[in-house]
């Protein structure tokens, strides 16, 4: 059995707690046994003292003197030699005292007084180098009971003491027995608890061992049945499984993105390299060189926009720091700015951009978004709509608010009347590097990141983006509608 007990480990703390409780109960048991033993043994001791006092009383005899006094007949007295006693009569006269009581106090006055309690009272004294427990009790002796109708009653006070040393010894021995027994139990149960804990925590260790085998290369995690069926471990097991699944998903996404990005970049570099090498393959005319260089510049511009889009996406996906003050942008102003900027592209493609609801005098519609993000979002969406619009069609931009929702949002809709997106492609349009129609978007110079950037920007602003499309030709609503919900600035 290999026990690795470290401070702060659960096993360590549990063992410590159990041993602490055991120790506390041992102390309690010892204390209780001390009280109990003391009570029992002193009770017996007191009974014995009473018996001895009775013997003393028995030895009080009638004295042959005219005063009808009493005397103590010590010769007939059989008490243990180490005990001490003295006997007083009611007049304060000492009738007798044990010989071994050297420095007896002179109780002429109070020693002869009757005790407060009819059963006597107790005194503790120390004499002859020993501790004594004294019983003082008043007894009576009837002198000549046959004379004058009852005789004379003489009261005597007996003080009798016996050594307590051996009683204490017995008590101490009993308490010692209990203490040693408890300690021995503690020593035996300590390792036993450690071993039981070790066995009891086995499912936890199995779970940990299996969980530690999970790595970037191997996401497989099948929790042991012991962990699954243990009520305390089941939630942890489920949590680990869920976390691993989420991690694997996001890791796979990340990996796919990196691999896609590498593919795009390598392809773009391959285009450039091959263009230059092609130009250099043989001697060419000045015109050929010029045309070749122009192609190379165009290739560089594509590479540049790809890199720029990837950086924009990376920036858009970085969550905003919480401490930052809430950004505010006027959505209406942003839209009219972008539409103005895109006018040349729109007229080049012969597409009209209509903003039916936009009133330049209206109050600003402030959304919780950075101005630059907002501009990027609107221009990406508009560019996308323009690129997919046939000649002489219209792209409509509508802005409404939905103050009833929680939080209140601005609703931005861009509707084009292009070919639409086939249903099977629709769930993927926000994926990075996804191209609905690869050859066309490559020809138009798209990087496949535009909508992914839009989604990242909207998510950063805690909004939502949806896309709906009617790809069937001839339908009045043919085309694609992108709906963006942006929380209003509070």
């Amino acid at each position: 059995m290999k026990l690795r007990i470290q401070p702060r480990s659960i096993a360590f703390r549990l063992i410590l707690a159990v041993l602490g409780i055991e120790l506390l109960s041992s102390v309690l048991v010892v204390a209780l046994s001390y009280g109990y033993e003391r009570h029992i043994h002193f009770h017996a001791f007191d009974v014995m003292l009473h018996g001895r006092v009775d013997s003393i009383l028995g030895a009080v005899q009638e004295a042959d003197d005219p005063g009808e006094n009493v005397m103590l007949e010590q010769a007939d007295l059989h008490v243990p030699p180490e005990d001490i006693y003295e006997v007083w009569d009611e007049n304060g006269r000492l009738l007798g005292r044990s010989a071994n009581w050297k420095d007896a106090p002179d109780w002429k006055t109070d020693g002869g007084a009757p005790p407060a309690h009819p059963w006597g009272d107790y005194l503790l004294i120390s004499t002859n180098g020993h501790h004594y427990r004294l019983l003082r009790i008043q007894g009576s002796r009837t002198i000549d009971p046959r004379e004058n109708g009852g005789g004379k009653v003489r009261k005597v006070t007996v003080i009798y003491g016996s050594q307590t040393g051996h009683v204490w010894h017995i008590i101490h021995q009993a308490v010692q027995f209990y203490a040693i027994g408890s300690l021995a139990l503690l020593l035996v149960t300590g390792p036993l608890i450690a071993w039981l804990l070790h066995r009891g925590l086995l499912p936890l260790r199995e779970l940990a061992a299996l969980a530690s085998q999970v790595s970037v290369d191997s996401w497989h995690f099948s929790p042991p049945d012991s962990a699954r069926t243990t009520p305390e471990l089941a939630p942890l097991t489920h949590a680990i499984e869920a976390v691993l699944q989420r991690l694997e998903r996001s890791f796979t996404q990340q990996k796919t993105f990196v691999s896609d990005a590498a593919h795009e970049l390598k392809t773009a570099v391959a285009v450039q390299k091959s263009s230059l090498q092609l130009l250099n393959m043989k001697r060419r005319t000045l015109q050929e060189y010029q045309a070749g260089l122009e192609r190379c510049v165009a290739d560089s511009l594509r590479l540049e926009s790809l890199v720029a889009d990837m950086l924009t996406l990376a920036r858009a996906e970085t969550p905003a720091p919480n401490a930052e003050a809430q950004p505010t942008t006027d959505l209406n102003h942003c839209i009219s700015q972008v539409v103005t900027q895109m006018e040349s592209i729109a007229s080049l493609r012969n597409v009209k951009v209509a903003i039916p609801d936009l009133d330049p005098k209206a109050a600003p519609l402030n959304v919780a978004m950075h101005a630059e993000d907002c501009r990027l979002l609107v221009s990406n969406l508009l560019l996308n709509a323009l690129q997919h619009s046939p000649s002489e069609s219209t792209v409509e931009i509508r802005v409404t608010t939905n103050p009833g929702s929680n939080p209140p949002v601005a609703v931005l809709v861009l509707q084009d009347h292009g070919d639409g997106i086939p249903g099977e492609a629709l769930p993927h349009v926000f994926d990075r590097f996804y191209r609905g129609d690869p050859s066309r978007t490559r020809n138009t110079g798209g990087t496949g990141l535009g909508l992914a950037i839009c989604k990242a920007l909207v998510q950063k602003a805690r909004g939502a983006i949806q896309i709906a499309s009617q790809p069937d030709a001839g339908q009045p609503d043919q085309g694609t509608a992108v709906t963006v919900l942006l929380p209003l600035a509070s």
Partner: protein, 248 residues
């Protein structure tokens, strides 16, 4: 020789096609997605397929598997942007003959393309020595019995194709298919003129030689008909028979 490029990146395909036409003088066709590539590759006129891996509709690996599943032995050169030995092993095991990682060197690509075509025809050395002729495929020069023969690019391409298939009747149609891509106007009499010029130039190199290219009326052309089969060093070459079968 005719090459099929399956590549969705337009500019890269343009550059490759131009380089292969200008350099080794191949006829080049281009497909921009996997399905179109598969359609074109079904035609047995290609001597090499240059295949990109990440393609829309049908990816490069899928196309390769379809190609090999119908026992098409055309050499395939893969262009890949993927790293890692796993994907390369998978590709080679699926029947690819060679691969180049993007971004590649254009010169290397041309050299590999030539080597793959050569190997596909059963020749190991870039200089072909047959029937007293020495054809250097790198310099694109021809000598007959040591005498230099000056050929036009088209004449050279016809000879290079015929020399890989001695004693086999090669139809005009086959010659057209392997020497011209779809962008070319097909005129069979163009071939007749070129073959006639080629024959004259080759025969002029050696005095009183037998005509080295025989015209089989209505059937096509045959290289080196006058040599007895047992003296022909290429007769034992099984690779040539195999290519013959495939084209039939």
């Amino acid at each position: 020789m005719r090459v099929l490029i399956v590549e969705d990146e337009v500019r890269l395909a343009e550059n490759l096609a131009t380089a292969l036409r200008d350099g080794p003088g191949f006829a080049v066709d281009w497909a921009e997605d996997g399905l179109a590539g598969d359609d074109l590759a079904a035609n047995p006129c290609y001597d090499l397929i240059i295949l990109d891996l990440m393609l829309p509709k049908l990816d490069g690996l899928g196309l390769l598997k379809r190609l090999r599943a119908r026992r098409d032995a055309t050499p395939v050169l893969i262009l890949t942007a993927k790293d890692g030995a796993d994907s390369i092993i998978q590709l080679l095991n699926a029947g690819a003959d060679d691969y180049l990682a993007k971004p590649f060197d254009l010169g290397e690509l041309i050299a590999r393309a030539k080597a793959l075509i050569r190997r596909g025809k059963g020749a190991a050395h870039p200089t072909l020595n047959t029937l007293g002729m020495e054809v250097n495929t790198l310099e694109q020069t021809v000598r007959r019995n040591g005498n230099f023969v000056d050929l036009s690019p088209t004449e050279y391409r016809i000879l290079e194709y015929l020399i890989h298939r001695p004693r086999v009747i090669v139809s005009k149609r086959e010659l057209l298919e392997h020497l011209y891509d779809y962008n070319w106007e097909h005129h069979s009499n163009v071939i007749e003129v070129h073959v006639s010029n080629l024959r004259k130039k080759l025969d002029a190199a050696v005095p009183e030689a037998d005509p080295i290219i025989e015209t089989m009326r209505g059937r096509g052309y045959r290289l080196a008909p006058s040599f007895p089969a047992e003296l022909d060093p290429t007769a034992e070459d099984p690779a040539i028979d195999r290519t013959t079968e495939r084209t039939r």
